[in-house]
Symmetry: C2
Subunit: 127 residues, 2 copies
């Protein structure tokens, strides 16, 4: 299965993913699929769709475990209280482990663990 389909949860067709919103790297991922899939890594980038209050504990654990999080908060945009709670909890972890947190475009929050920072200068930012 391609990386794309995997990250989109291809095995769970009940999910209401908007396939067209994803970049199709199928052609380019085939070579990597076979080699990368089996190798364990020290650090993982994990993509989270935040919908429930009770996800916060597991998200915090990912950062404590040394993983990087990209948290999509599209689904809770209208819930300011939950959003603020999530941000405060993530901020506390980041302060604790000397990681980093930054707001990205398109309702994504990027959170990094110990040893990884987000560069504030965008590369090629001229339009």
């Amino acid at each position: 299965m391609s990386f794309l389909k995997k990250i989109m949860g291809g095995s769970e067709p009940k999910q209401n993913d908007d396939y067209s919103a994803y970049i199709d790297l199928d052609k380019f991922e085939k070579d990597i699929d076979s080699s990368a899939g089996d190798e364990p890594a020290e650090t993982y980038v994990k993509i989270a769709i935040f919908t429930h209050f009770d996800q916060i504990t597991s998200l915090k654990k990912e950062i404590y475990d040394g993983n990087i999080l990209i948290v999509d908060i599209s689904n809770i945009k209208s819930d300011e209280r939950l959003r603020n709670h999530l941000f405060n909890e993530l901020k506390d972890v980041v302060l604790d482990v000397h990681g980093d947190i930054v707001g990205m475009k398109d309702n994504n929050i990027l959170v990094t663990p110990t040893g990884i920072k987000v560069d504030r200068k965008k590369i090629g930012g001229s339009y």
Copy 2:
């Protein structure tokens, strides 16, 4: 200056960034701003806006240097030849260093260096 403004290139007002598209973490970033800013990191997440062919070399260098790239290809969506060229070049680096590459939502490509992989399972993917 807040992280948000820094990543948006706040000091370069000529950039045509859509500020409203970014998540405002100002309230939550102040504590981190003072502590995180001064600490060097082993690995950086770098956000790149891809517009020109001649950015490819520097993007490849970032991966070879052990950094993580989030590459926004919105500006070259209509240029299939350039897009394919970029993907092939990034794929070759990823194969070389045993990193990872994945297409994200909203015209972003996530590329990781040695030791860092992208988890194909989304956290909380149920809508």
